[in-house]
């Protein structure tokens, strides 16, 4: 949104975002939903607020989670060397013995680090800078709290948002497969996921244009799943069925994570 504001000459002085995260019941799966509140600071007109509201909904990560914009190609590799394409995922879901844990209730708060903006010699913004993200959610014996950084910087101190979002997807895939596939304790250590992100899409400038205009941009990604054992021990149908139950995969395929959103201005 900082980039969209800069390109649109919107006098955005500061920004913060608050997400409430909650579990959502889905047929045969565990889902999650978010309620988003974006607070803008500056002399921002109503048309400018609407433009920034659209940017929030159509940023690459937001599109992936709410618009089903990802085009996923799945490949399975068993540790015995056999390989198979798992796309498209079938609609029928064979039963699996394992169970997925509920997504715990919690919140995510993003604060913009204003002094991390970077400008070139002529005063043009080169990098939007970084955000400090505070995560809080239910844990077993106490509230869990973590802080991470993300954004855009020339030195690459922090991960850009879109790869960071995919990191959550890769981790979610591994978590789901480890719970639902019939892997032994030792075999589970051999389970991994690799993501190959297609180049292109026009880069950050194009993403900001899409966000400002409300354009859904399809993005391709290949997900390689490395499964211990053989196809006879862990059949492709079981892997596909587990993938169909993964919360973030479901969001990437169907969207719908956003339960409610609001963008307000503080002058």
């Amino acid at each position: 949104m900082v980039g969209v504001a800069y390109r649109g000459n919107i006098a955005l002085e500061d920004i913060k975002v608050d997400f409430e995260v909650e579990p959502v019941e889905l047929p045969n799966a565990i889902g999650f939903g978010v309620r988003e509140l974006v607070t803008l600071k500056g002399r921002i007109s109503e048309p400018e607020r609407v433009r920034l509201e659209r940017a929030s909904r159509y940023c690459p990560v937001g599109q992936a989670l709410t618009k089903g914009s990802m085009e996923i190609e799945d490949e399975i590799r068993w540790s015995n060397g056999e390989v198979a394409s798992a796309s498209p995922l079938p609609e029928s879901l064979p039963p699996l013995d394992g169970a997925l844990p509920t997504v715990p209730t919690g919140s995510v708060h993003g604060r913009y680090l204003l002094d991390t903006k970077e400008y070139d010699d002529e005063g043009r913004m080169e990098h939007e800078g970084e955000a400090k993200i505070s995560i809080q959610c239910q844990n077993l014996t106490r509230t869990g709290r973590w802080t991470i950084l993300g954004g855009h910087s020339s030195e690459g101190w922090v991960p850009p948002p879109f790869p960071l979002g995919h990191a959550g997807w890769a981790a979610s895939t591994v978590s789901t497969l480890s719970r639902l596939l019939p892997l032994g304790t030792e075999d589970a250590d051999g389970l991994s996921v690799e993501l190959y992100m297609a180049a292109g899409g026009g880069g950050r400038g194009q993403s900001q244009s899409n966000a400002a205009e409300g354009v859904v941009a399809r993005r391709g990604v290949t997900r390689r799943i490395i499964v211990p054992g053989t196809p006879s021990a862990t059949p492709i149908e079981a892997v596909q069925a587990a993938l169909q139950r993964d919360p973030i995969t479901l969001a990437y395929l169907n969207g719908g994570v956003l339960l409610n959103d609001e963008v307000m201005v503080e002058s």
Binding site: F19, V21, F32, V34, C59, V61, G62, L65, E75, P101, V103, P104, G106, V108, H109, G110, E130, A131, I133, I135, C137, N139, L140, T141, R142, G144, W146, I148, L149, G150, G151, G156, V158, P159, P161, F162, P163, L164, G165, H166, A167, G168, W169, A170, A171, S172, T173, V174, S175, S178, A188, D189, L191, S192, V193, E194, L195, Y196, M197, I248
Partner: protein, 61 residues
């Protein structure tokens, strides 16, 4: 993917209740940035946020 040797992102289990994810895993990419996420379970506190929270954090960023 056929032309791309190294993945951009790699995730693997660490024990039974955690996942290690590396962003920028390719040798010529920026990074690496490593994250531990937790899997909710009845036996232990998670040592990192659940994966869904990492994706929402990216949205916030």
């Amino acid at each position: 993917m056929a032309e791309q040797i190294h993945p951009n992102i790699v995730a693997r289990t660490v024990g039974k209740e955690s996942v290690l994810t590396v962003v920028g895993a390719a040798p010529d990419a920026r990074g690496p940035w490593s994250f531990i996420t937790g899997i909710p379970n009845p036996g232990f506190d998670m040592v990192g946020p659940p994966p869904q929270y990492l994706s929402v954090a990216a949205w916030a960023a």
